[in-house]
Amino acid sequence: MKVHEYQAKEILRRYGVPTPRGEVVESADEARTAAKQLGGRVVVKAQIHAGGRGKGGGVKLAKDADEAAELTRKMLGMTLVTHQTGPEGRVVRKVFIEEALNIDKELYLGITLDRKLGLPVIMASSQGGMDIEEVAHKDPKAIHREAVDSILGIQPFQARAVADAFGLKGDAYKKCVDFVQKLTKAYVETDASLAEINPLLVTKEGDVLALDAKMNFDDNAMFRHKDVLEMRDLNEEDPLEVEASHFGLNYIKLDGNVGCMVNGAGLAMATMDIIKLAGGEPANFLDVGGGASAEQVKNAFRIILNDKNVKAILINIFGGIMRGDRIAEGVVSASREVGLPVPVVVRLEGTNVELGKEILAKSGLPLITADGMWDAAQKVVSAAKQAKPS
């Protein structure tokens, strides 16, 4: 789960992590009032769930409250395109007004899970503002790393090593040591999967603050963080994906025209892959889960058919413990209820597969049966190609 910058900073402040003073606004008037309170000279920042906002025109400096209001007026409702949003961009619905500070240094500080170590790892680099992936690619030695112990958490000497790696001295050094410890505590205690401060700001006055903040969270742990869950912004998510999640379906929309409905995440990915190998383009990833009941198949049909690009659908179910005839019955009844505007290729595996195929064939519905994944992929791709252009 992702949150906006202003929300990430709200969470971080609860852990004593210093951030610039700021206020989130939804109108130009609110922006003017906020800017006045913050001393006039402010930074106006578009709030969307994507990085690269600065380059896309979503972060601007205002010299006074009137300019802050004017910039906010322009920003609200605009579609911001960055390297992370894709060409369609994101609509700006909220703007964050933040006090402008005197920048001395811009650094990078991030924490995320290292899958190889099995522990959270702190990453620090002096190249603030740059993507850490880019730094890792060009000069991996420029990144200082500290693993966070699963029981003891971060130790003071590790925080000092980070401050040393930044080359900080005096007041800034001490404040940085404190910052690193508090940020790590926030990361662990909120079940975050990413806490990225880029840039980490050192001011001319020697203060250390989170100038930008990005936090992602472990979806599986959100049951114990109701306060974080409340920060979820559905405007930032694909409406079809949100709807699918209500049905317990794992759906991700893609750009192709071959819809797919599969049980199991690995098989669902493999189905997309084989559609591509057969010369088609998958329209989605969809895992209906282990059961693949008539109800789930029906919900999945509705979600897939909501995507107007879909010209044909491939159902690929490895029944396993579920009987093939039961799955076939489910597919038929769901198809009847939904009404199928496009051809559907069904590949079933499991016990009583032959009986299942018979049920599909006798249904009188536009259901095409297939033997194995390759046959299914070829049939669905050719069906999609034959479809009339809409």
Partner: protein, 301 residues
Amino acid sequence: MAIWADKNTRVIVQGITGREGTFHAVQCREYGTKVVGGVTPGKGGTKHEGFDVFGSVREAREKAGANCSLIFVPPPFAADAIMESADAGIELIVCITEGIPVNDMIRAHDFLEKSNVRHVAEGRAASRLIGPNCPGIMTPGQAKIGIMPGHIHKPGPIGIVSRSGTLTYEAVGQLSRLNIGQSTAVGIGGDPLPGTNFVDCLAAFQADPLTEAIIMIGEIGGTAEEEGAAFVKKNVTKPVVAFIAGQTAPPGRRMGHAGAIISGGTGTAGEKMKALEAAGIHVVKAPSDMGQRLSEVWKRK
């Protein structure tokens, strides 16, 4: 022979009185697995579907001689169930549960490591965790410890290791249709921090005299496949066929499994396929080719 699970493995089911636990305990027993009971805290001393129910794993180990635990406990309590089994000295812990928080697993792994040091120091076997978020482990004709469909398997010489449940079934189905049996199929699970990884399984299959060839099924995210490839290059002499799911997956999106995500440009299928090929592994692009390709590179004895 096979790896880690055979007809002598004595299984208890943690969470046996739950819906999933009940259903699969019965399915495993019907397959012929020695299911010697189950554990549900507070319900010790009762019977459920003909199984003895114990109040703790320690009790199940002492009274029923269990050496393997199959876990169906809900996500918030699953890490605790894993640690309880490890503490009791259960040798094989198979966790089916999907959706365990990463922080819980970090602590469970730490606990497991420490309890293993203790067990080994005291002359007992160390615990192995398979999963979480996996279908389990299957030695055809001997033991089905998990949620996989038993009937598609047949005993034979091919070892399978996979991060995906249904893709394991796909590989098994393809092999069985070609009349090629399996020694053991291990689902290592789709989570970012699995207890058993590709390297563990590849080492065990290489050492197992009855395994003659291996299928490994990976997917996007992490570097476990690359580590497996490096291990194969150095240590594995048996032929290995591999498939990587997610060749068409968009970056930055979690593809169903918690661990299946391309982040910061790393963990792509292309990278993994390249590393596997460089290690002399036979990589297939289409998931439908796994069985066929294996039959070409493995010579029936």
